[in-house]
Subunit: 202 residues, 4 copies
C-alpha cells in the first residue's frame, strides 16, 4: 500500500467534511424577520463553525505529520484510519446539532453538547490508536526518539482527557463545555511545539 | 492513461460519497420533542451510517489494492470504473432510504432494504468486472499467480452471493438483511487475508 | 504552472459534481404513499442520474486525455478550464430541474430540457475552446499529427451540433431531447476510437 | 511538511466550495408558477453564482502560483492557509444569503451584501497574510526580485481596498457593490499580468 493514496483519500474526506460545516450557517431567508436578527439568533452556528473548522484543521495538520513518518502502511492501519474518518465525517452533524440546541437550555442542550464532545473524543482516541499501532511494530514508523514518543503520548492523553472533561462539563453547562473545546483549538493553533514525529527529521 | 488520475478521481468520488452519508444523521431540531427521543427514533440512521461507511471504506481499500497492480489503464477500464462509481455514488441515497423505512415495517421496508442490497450487489459485480477485465489481457495486470486469481474469484463470488442472499432475505425481514450486510462489513474489516493481488508483491 | 494541480482541482470539482447528482434521487419518505409508487413517479430522476453521470464521466475521461498532452499550462488555459468547470458544476442543478419537470408536460418541461441541453452545449463548447487554445500555439501541446487534429475537430463539432439539435428538439418534445442526450453518452461510452491526442503516444 | 499535501487539501476544499455554489441555483419546482418566472425571479442567484465562481477560481489560480514558490511550509503557514480556507468555505453561505436578499431592498439587502463583501475582504486579507509570512523569512520563499514583491503588495493592497470600497458601497446600494465585486473578478480573469512570484521562473 502506498502512503500517497492514504493521504489523498483522507484529505478528500477531511476537505469535504470541513466544507459541509458551512451548510449550517444558512439563515431562513426573506420573510423570517430582519436578517440581522436572524444572524444574531444563530450566533451559536457561527461560533460552532469556527471551533469545528479549526479542530478539523488541526486534525489535518497532525494527520499529515504522522502519515509523513509512516514507513509501512498495512491493512490494519487503513481501517484504523477509517475509524478516525468515521468521527471526522460525523463532525458536521455534531456541530449542527450542538449549535441548534445550545441556546435551548435544559436537558437537550446538555445532550447535544455531550454528542459534540463524544465525537471529538472518538476522533482523539482514533488518532491515538493510529499512533499506537504505528509504534507497535518497529517497521511501521521511521525511528522516533523515546523522549519524542513520550511527549507525543502525553499530548494525546492530555488532549483526550480534556475532551473527557468537556464531556462531563456538558452535563452541567453546555456553553462552558463549548468554551473548553474552543480553548483546545486555540491552544493547538497558537502553540509552537512541533507535531508528532517532526523532531525526527531535524 | 496514467493510473494516478484514475486513483485521484475515484478517491474524490468515494470521499464525497462517504462524507455525504452523514447528512442523513441530521435530527429535526428544537420543537420536535426531546433530542434523546429524536435520536432514539432515528437509530436506524446511525446503524446504517456505520455499515455503509465501512462498506464504502472496504471498497476503497480493495480498489486501491487492485489499481496498484494495474499495468495498463485503457478506456474500457475507465468506463468499468465509472460503473463502479455509479453504485458508490448511489449509496448515500440507498442508505438514507433504507434507514427512513427500516422501522416502518410492511412492504415499504422490504422494498427499501432490497434497493440497499441491490446497490451493494451492483457495486460488487462492477468490482468483479474490473478485476475480470484486468485479467483478460495479459498486459493489463502485473502477473498474479493462478492460486491468487482463483482465491480472488472465490472471494468475489462469495461476496456477490452474500448480497444476493441479503437481497432475498430483504423481502422476508429487512432487519435480518441489514444484519447480513453488516456482518459482511465486519468480516472484511477484521479478516487478515491480503486483498486482491497483494501476494504478488511479496 | 504545473499540470498536476490543474488535474487535481478539476478532478475534485468533477468528483463533487458527479456525487451531488445522487442528491436528487431522494424520495419524500414515509407518509407520502407506497415507496414503490414514489420511486415509479420519480423515474425521470433515475434516468437523468444515469445520463448525467456518464456524460460527466465522459468529460472526465476526455479532459484527462487532453491535459495529458499539454506541454504548457498558462493562465489563459486555467481560466478556459474554469469556464468548463462552470458548466460541469451546473449539471446537478440542470439535471434536477429537468427531472422534476420532465413529466409535467407543457412549456415548463420544454424550458427545463432546454436548460439541460444548454449546459451540455456550454460544456462542449468550453472543451473545444480548451483544445483550440492548446493547438493555437505550437508550444502548448505535444505534437499531434494533422489527421488527428482534423478528426478531433470533427468530433467536437459533431458533439456540439448534436447538443444544438437536442436543444431545438427540447422545444418540441422534452423526452425526445433526453433520448438524444442519452444516446450521445451511450455512443461515447461504447465507441472504440481513442480520445483526443491519444494516437500521438503510440 | 511537504507542499504537495498543502496543495491537495486546499484544492479539495476549494473544489467542494466552488461546487456547493450551484446548490443555491435550485428552483422550487412544479407547482410554484411557470419555470421561466421562477428562473427570472431568481436572477440574482445566477449572477451571484457567476461572480462567486470566478472569484473562487481566481483565488485558486493565485494560491497555486504562490504555493509553487514556497521553499518551506511550516506550521504557521498551515494555519494561515486554514484562515484563508475558513473564508473560502463561507463563500457559498455568503453568496446564497446575498442572492436571496439582493432584490428585497432595504436594510436587509445592505446587510446581506456587506456580509458577502466582508467574506471576500477576509479572504483577500488572509491571502496577503500568507504572502507576507512567506516573505518574512528568507528561507520560506524562492527568491523574488524586489520589484516583483512591490508589485505583488500593490496588487494585494488594491484588491483589499476595492473590497473595502464595495463593503462601504453595500450600505448605500447593494447592486452597486455587487457590480464592483463582479468587476474585480472580470479584471483578474482578463488581465495579462503574471500572478505573484511567477516572474521569478522566467
Amino acid at each position: 500500500m502506498n502512503r500517497g493514496r492514504l493521504e489523498a483519500f483522507s484529505d478528500g474526506v477531511i476537505a469535504v467534511a470541513i466544507t459541509l460545516l458551512a451548510l449550517n450557517l444558512a439563515v431562513e431567508g426573506p420573510g423570517h424577520g430582519p436578517l440581522l436578527d436572524q444572524l444574531a439568533h444563530r450566533w451559536p452556528a457561527f461560533v460552532a463553525y469556527l471551533i469545528s473548522f479549526f479542530t478539523i484543521g488541526i486534525i489535518w495538520v497532525n494527520h499529515h505529520a504522522l502519515v509523513e513518518d509512516l514507513a509501512l502502511v498495512d491493512r490494519t492501519l487503513l481501517f484504523l484510519n477509517l475509524g478516525l474518518l468515521l468521527f471526522v465525517v460525523a463532525i458536521p452533524f455534531g456541530t449542527a446539532t450542538m449549535a441548534n440546541y445550545l441556546t435551548e437550555g435544559g436537558q437537550d442542550s446538555h445532550m447535544a453538547m455531550a454528542i459534540y464532545c463524544l465525537i471529538f473524543l472518538g476522533m482523539s482516541a482514533s488518532f491515538a490508536a493510529i499512533f499506537g499501532w504505528s509504534l507497535g511494530d518497529g517497521r511501521r514508523l521511521h525511528p522516533i526518539p523515546p523522549e519524542s514518543q513520550r511527549s507525543a503520548w502525553i499530548r494525546f492523553t492530555i488532549g483526550g482527557l480534556i475532551y473527557v472533561v468537556a464531556l462531563a462539563v456538558a452535563f452541567v453547562s453546555a456553553p462552558a463545555a463549548l468554551a473548553i473545546v474552543g480553548l483546545v483549538a486555540v491552544y493547538y493553533v497558537v502553540e509552537r511545539t512541533p507535531a508528532v514525529g517532526q523532531p525526527t527529521r531535524q
